[in-house]
């Protein structure tokens, strides 16, 4: 058979379509198989704990609100995070990048606000961050697995994979995600000395959020915000392993009353507030 130019182009077009679709087909028919075979390293990083097996570690944060509201003007945890993670000071609240920040009880718990019970808390600000949910809606909606849940419970971001569709921002019921509306490096121009060389800066057009400092955890250190709080001897932030019954977080959760943000949504946050 003599293939005409037209036939050749047809065939080439169809082959190209199949080529693009093959990866998707693989993923649908045998989820994860492709990743396991060809992307061992990345697959492990993006992997999840095997079903039914409880991971040894489940990181969680406990925020002692009663202690924290005594330190009204303290921003130590926020500043420590910002300088550790090269988070720019944007200025415009519409374009702010926030990993950890302080907000009032009424804003953080809009449905639990009671005008009689919360008198001591009213108008008082305390820190808040990504909840690192057990059941994170942001991970569910991400079309590229750029945000994913690690076996230790940390909801992580792959800033090189993120396409910037901001579906995760619409899905997060906690307003914990920030988008780089402009080049974040621009805000450090002339202030390069402020940058932490051990941590990356980001590019415009990607989403970011609190990561519980996995790079510090790997070295046996606590997250930067916790360290800053301890340095001040305020001890409002307690970080630890929920799956260890003897950990500090478990001990204090046993002793004190804690609440989580919007528990009715079934996301199971791992950030607890002692009230």
């Amino acid at each position: 058979m003599k293939a005409s130019r037209r036939e050749f182009l047809k065939l080439a077009g169809v082959s190209a379509l199949f080529g693009l679709g093959a990866n998707a087909a693989f993923e649908l028919l045998t989820p994860g198989a492709l990743e396991a075979s060809s992307e061992v390293a990345h697959g492990a990083a993006h992997g999840e704990a095997a079903a039914g097996v409880q991971a040894a570690t489940r990181w969680a944060m406990v925020i002692d609100v009663r202690k924290c509201i005594l330190q009204e003007d303290c921003q130590d945890c926020v500043l420590a995070c910002n300088s550790t993670h090269n988070i720019p000071t944007v200025g415009n609240p519409k374009e702010e990048i926030k990993w950890i920040w302080k907000d009032t009880f009424e804003h953080l718990f809009p449905d639990q606000h009671s005008q009689y019970v919360d008198e001591g808390l009213e108008g008082k600000a305390f820190p808040v961050m990504c909840n690192h949910c057990d059941n994170p809606p942001c991970v569910r909606v991400c079309p590229t697995k750029a945000t994913f849940r690690r076996p230790d419970g940390i909801v992580m971001m792959d800033m090189h994979r993120c396409i910037g569709c901001r579906f995760c921002m619409a899905a997060c019921p906690y307003g914990a995600r920030s988008f780089n509306w402009r080049d974040p490096r621009k805000y450090f121009e002339g202030k390069e000395a402020m940058l932490n060389p051990e941590q990356p800066t980001r590019t415009k057009g990607v989403v970011e959020k609190c990561t519980f400092c996995p790079e510090r955890l790997a070295k046996g250190l606590e997250p930067a915000c916790v360290e800053a709080c301890k340095k001040r001897k305020s001890d409002c932030l307690i970080f630890g392993n929920l799956n260890d019954p003897e950990s500090e977080v478990r001990k204090i959760l046993r002793k004190r009353t804690s609440i989580r943000r919007k528990p009715e949504l079934g996301t199971k946050p791992s950030v607890f507030f002692l009230v």
Binding site: L20, G21, N23, A24, E27, L28, P31, P93, K94, E95, E96, K98, D103, E106, H107, L108, P110, D111, P137, R140, V141, C142, P143, T144, K145, A146, R161, C162, I163, G164, C165, R166, F167, M169, A170, A171, C172, P173, Y174, G175, S178, F179, N180, W181, R182, D183, T203, K204, G205, V206, V207, K262, L265, G266, T267
Partner: protein
């Protein structure tokens, strides 16, 4: 075939020139956006989707509406639609293309968009939206082009096209259902978290798309020798009427559930849209305009004496088109983000470049539509001439 789009009078070229100008302005703004980032838009941390995604959502509906002609024509052999169904399919092609472009311009890292294929994620609704939208585009290109080719040669469309025509029917429903699921499955966005989101999307789609199609057909009739036929247009108008009534009915159901249950979080977005919240009321005049136009449109389409007059019909269709555009292309997406997760209100104003980029995409859609309609009209005009002979 394509050469037919290259012959036209001064008006035709003037129109094409205007569209190219608008596309040029928008393209320049897009280059600026690509260079600076999405910060040039009015979007923010709280309103993280704006005009782009709202237009995308609206146009998915316009695209899906072609099925309102395909079902009567191909499932019920309704002959009056024989000559107009192609215009519905071509409208779908233009609308889906606009949808895809609106997604591209909304993405922060457009160069990475193929990550959606490289790392397919079936649990993401966006992944499925990508599949159904591209599929719908391909189906309509196959069906539209081949039926027109057959028309030109005055032979029936080849048999292998038929399965694609039948496939296009559930597929049209799927594109708008999946698009509704983008919103309806998100916890914590109370206005979107409603089981009738997909039905409401379909109802508004079957009102907005066919009303635009009627306006286009009236335009086609006035600028060419091809007459789509009074009966065909009246039938489409009845579809518009029913669909719009159902759409308004669904909206009323949303109001009932929110306000009778009296759950604050369920009422907030609707309060913001129709009355203002915490002193913020930017969209209130828009939403009441939408409501007013819906009533006017339904009234005209419902009364046969009015609907049958071309002038009134055009006003009725324009009212419904604008009403649904405000409802879905402005209110639904913006309103869903208000109040934000902290129950405070950040308002949203699109910027000039953002509007210019949006207009450019509408202009690209209009250009595609102009070219496709020009080809279809010239084929139809030839048929008219041969019939006379």
């Amino acid at each position: 075939m394509i050469e037919r789009a290259l012959k036209g009078n001064e008006k035709y070229w003037g129109w094409v020139g205007l569209l190219l100008l608008l596309i040029g302005v928008g393209f320049a703004c897009y280059i600026y956006q690509l260079y600076t980032g999405l910060g040039i838009t009015g979007m923010s941390r709280d309103i993280s989707w704006g005009v782009y995604i709202a237009q995308f959502t609206y146009l998915v509906g316009v695209a899906a509406s072609a099925v309102m002609l395909v079902i009567p024509k191909y499932l019920h052999n309704y002959k009056k639609y024989t000559n107009v169904v192609i215009f519905g399919e071509f409208l779908a092609i233009a609308a889906v293309t606009m949808c895809l472009l609106f997604i591209i311009v909304d993405i922060g890292q457009p160069a990475r968009v193929l990550n959606v294929l490289l790392h397919p994620t079936p649990n993401s609704i966006l992944f499925w939206d990508m599949i159904v939208l591209n599929g719908y585009l391909i189906i309509n290109v196959i069906v539209g082009w081949n039926t027109l080719l057959a028309d030109k040669k005055d032979v029936p469309a080849p048999g292998w096209v038929k399965p694609f025509i039948y496939l296009s029917i559930p597929w049209a429903v799927s594109i708008h259902t999946v698009t509704a699921f983008l919103y309806a499955g998100l916890p914590g966005r109370h206005m979107w978290l409603t089981a009738i989101m997909a039905p409401r999307f379909l109802a508004s789609a079957f009102a907005s798309g066919p009303s635009l199609l009627i306006l286009l057909l009236l335009l086609v009739k006035s600028v060419s020798k091809f007459d789509p036929g009074k009966e065909a247009i009246q039938s489409i108008a009845k579809t518009v009427c029913y669909a719009m009534i159902i759409n308004v009915f669904f909206l009323c159901m949303e109001f009932f559930t929110a306000f009778y249950s009296n759950i604050p979080s369920h009422m907030h977005s609707l309060q913001y849209l129709f009355a203002g919240l915490h002193g913020h009321d930017r969209l209130v005049p828009w939403m009441w305009t939408s409501a007013f136009l819906a009533v006017v449109g339904i009234f005209i389409m419902l009364v046969p004496a009015l609907r049958k007059q071309t002038g009134y019909l055009a006003v009725g269709c324009a009212s419904i088109f604008l009403s649904t555009w405000i409802d879905k292309g402005v209110g639904l997406v913006i309103g869903g983000f208000i109040p934000n997760p902290f129950e405070t209100v950040t308002e949203y104003y699109p910027t000039f470049p953002e509007i210019a980029i949006s207009i450019a995409i509408w202009a690209i859609g209009a250009l595609i539509l102009t070219i496709l309609y020009k080809i279809a009209i010239s084929v139809r005009e030839e048929q008219v001439e041969t019939d006379v002979i």
